[in-house]
């Protein structure tokens, strides 16, 4: 098994604090994820909420449901997972587990969301796709920007905060938009496949919200389980050979090291309040209490 660690860097921003998680396999970075913890006064943010309105006329026997996009700020105050990068689904899942580990350990709310870039069709060969290439941007967003696409940087990933006043305040009826847009709305970018799978693995699902810039899906859910058993908890470390009671296969465990900002991914045997590892880590931490969490990872693809 490779030597995996997840390193956390903590910083403060105007609107809260931010954790940057980096996953390293044998000292090579395999992916990263940013966790944004809202402060007391989080900045204004908007999403489209996908809803349904009912239009019925019993007089002529017609009843139709209409899907709508309505501007909302529902997710303000929720922890955001951002800037997801991962070379494979295992790395993505590991980063999510690491987020789960620290959030649980620090008693942060377990509800999180992640805005995913939207699916785009037409990207020139050899060029990176931009959120501004999304059909959603072309059919909706650009109409609410004074200078259209040129109002934004090419690298824009979300609606600029200083332009929030320009967003449409009335519901947008999806049936009035093109069939092509309806077909791709809320679909994630093709290069996010690893994250899509990892998020599903963690039961985070695309729900009722879309990014206002490109209509990309917003995955959300309870990353940290309410059950204490699924959270990181301190256990006394022992060397595997001494405490292993039987021939059970090891569990996959994330364990926090001494300075608290690094997690190690290792096989281990749980035994009540004790945990047994093989190798150097056990020898260096023998008898000490370290926070651990058993995890389950998807196949590496």
């Amino acid at each position: 098994m490779s030597d995996w660690i997840i390193r956390r860097e903590v910083s403060s921003t105007e609107s809260g604090s931010e954790w940057k998680l980096r996953a390293l396999e044998d000292d090579e970075e395999r992916g990263s994820l940013c966790i944004k913890l809202p402060g007391i006064q989080p900045a204004a943010r908007f999403w489209y909420r996908v809803g349904v309105t009912s239009h019925g006329a019993p007089e002529i026997g017609i009843h139709r449901l209409q899907r709508t996009l309505t501007l909302c700020s529902d997710l303000i105050g929720t922890i955001e997972l951002a800037q997801p990068e991962a070379r494979d689904v295992l790395t993505a899942s590991l980063l999510l587990h690491a987020a789960q580990f620290w959030l649980g350990l620090e008693s942060q709310p377990g509800h999180v969301f992640l805005e995913m870039a939207a699916f785009t069709h037409a990207v020139s060969p050899g060029t990176a796709s931009s959120r501004l290439d999304a059909r959603f941007f072309d059919e909706i967003s650009r109409h609410f920007l004074p200078a259209g696409r040129s109002s934004l940087e090419e690298s824009a990933t979300t609606w600029p905060g200083h332009l929030t006043g320009l967003l449409p305040r009335h519901p947008i009826f999806l049936s009035l938009l093109s069939a092509e847009l309806n077909a791709v709305m809320g679909k994630p970018a093709a290069d996010m496949a690893h994250w899509v799978e990892a998020l599903r693995w963690h039961r985070l699902v695309p729900d009722a919200w879309l990014n206002v810039l490109d209509g990309g899906p917003v995955y959300q859910g309870q990353l940290v389980d309410e059950l204490q058993s699924a959270r990181a908890a301190p256990r006394e470390v022992h060397a595997a050979a001494a405490s292993r009671p039987d021939a059970r296969p090891p569990e996959t465990v994330l364990v926090q090291d001494a300075d608290g900002e690094v997690l190690h991914l290792m096989p281990a045997w749980m035994d009540g309040d004790r945990i047994a590892f093989a190798g150097d880590f056990a020898r260096a931490n023998q008898g000490l209490r370290r926070s651990c969490m058993t995890i389950r990872l998807p196949e590496r693809t």
């Binding site: 309105t53 239009h55 019925g56 006329a57 007089e59 002529i60 017609i62 139709r64 209409q66 059919e139 909706i140 109409h143 609410f144 920007l145 004074p146 200078a147 109002s151 200083h162 332009l163 929030t164 006043g165 320009l166 967003l167 449409p168 305040r169 009335h170 519901p171 947008i172 009826f173 049936s175 009035l176 938009l177 093109s178």
Partner: protein, 363 residues
């Protein structure tokens, strides 16, 4: 364009439609199969409208607001009915009359560094209760003559004469863009999504945009025009070519056609205050001369073409005639043409120089 001097204008007469005009109305309804929803190509429905109209003209008591008045244009030389027009006293019978109002929502913010003016369509009932001009049709060979003005504007003389029967606000629907097969780009892009039926079918059900189900099915929140398909955007406020003539007459009257559009085809709905219309403002009462029949009008004042109408509800007639400018009396010949007795009051208004037929000829 045909000028007044090119046509024998004395041959045209507008009068209330009678049951005996049913064949002509049916002919017009078929000829105008697209565009005039108030002229159904259904003989029974037409007879019902004629009956309602006759009752409205006969009712000398206070009007209730649900009256319709149908007029016909007759070529008296051949005793031939060549056109029709109408008035509905109160759009939606004072209950519901739906339309879209063009609005512009300005989105801005102190830090936005600009602002966005978003064109929206808002479902509204602003025009409920307004008087509606309806059912205009004139046979094609008369379109370029002042007879078209007579047919359209005679209604305004009627309204000016009997204001208590009508609202102060007045409107007129004009058909929007659609092809011969009933394919309507705005309907396909908007209305059909909420009604789930084809345009002809909803026209049959909606009965002049008055049915409450319209408000139940169409969204109550504004529609952002920029988000609609291009073809539908282009159709908003666009006029079907068949309505060019009556629309231009209304424009010349001073109707505003920028505020409202039809909920189904997005054709323009023109509206105005009655008191601001040119015909109403320029109309005046004149008394029929008592000069002996056949005698000439002795006034030396230059004469111009006018519309002249009787002031009687039960005997409304309107013609085109030459009247001395600022006259308070009109010639006995005019009185005879409209069937007015000596001393009877006539309401007159100058014929306009319009695309629909110039009338500014001094004689």
């Amino acid at each position: 364009m045909t000028h007044a001097q090119d046509v024998d204008l004395g041959r045209f007469l507008v009068r209330p439609a009678l049951a005996t005009d049913i064949d002509a109305l049916e002919r017009f309804a078929i000829a105008s199969a697209y565009g005039i929803t108030t002229l159904p190509s259904d003989r029974a429905a037409l007879l019902e409208r004629l009956s309602r109209s006759a009752r409205a003209f006969d009712n000398r008591d206070a009007a209730t607001g649900d009256e319709i008045y149908l007029f016909v244009l007759e070529d008296v030389r051949g005793h031939r009915v060549i056109g029709t027009s109408g008035i509905a006293a109160s759009a939606g019978l004072g209950r519901h009359f739906f339309s879209y109002r063009n609005e512009y929502v300005v989105h801005s913010g102190a830090e936005a560094g600009g602002h966005m003016r978003a064109h929206t369509l808002n479902l509204c009932q602003d025009l409920t209760g307004a008087t509606l001009l309806t059912s205009f049709y004139i046979e094609p060979e008369y379109e370029g003559t002042p007879a078209a003005q007579l047919l359209s504007r005679a209604r305004l003389l009627f309204i000016a004469q009997f204001p208590e029967r009508f609202a102060e606000r007045i409107a007129a629907e004009s058909p929007g863009l659609a092809d011969e097969r009933g394919h309507c780009p705005f309907w396909e892009a908007v209305g059909k999504k909420f009604f789930g039926m084809d345009y002809p079918e909803v026209e049959r059900l909606a009965v002049g945009r008055t049915k409450p189900f319209i408000g139940q099915l169409l969204p109550q929140s504004p529609l952002y025009v920029a988000l609609l398909p291009q073809e539908a955007q282009w159709a908003i406020g666009q006029l079907h070519p068949v309505a060019d003539l009556p629309f231009s007459i209304l424009e010349d009257e001073g109707f505003d056609s920028d505020t409202y559009v039809d909920i189904f085809d997005a054709g323009p709905i023109s509206d105005a205050r009655v008191s601001t219309l040119r015909t109403v403002r320029s109309s005046r009462l004149a008394r029929a001369s008592i000069a002996a029949p056949g005698s000439k009008d002795s006034s030396e004042a230059p004469r111009t073409w006018h519309l002249a109408a009787t002031a009687r509800l039960d005997h409304f007639r309107a013609v085109i005639a030459q009247v001395p400018e600022a006259a308070i009396e009109v010639g006995v010949e005019i009185a005879q043409r409209v069937g007015a007795s000596p001393h009877a009051l006539l309401r007159i208004a100058p014929l306009m120089d319009t695309e629909a037929g110039a009338g500014r000829e001094h004689v």
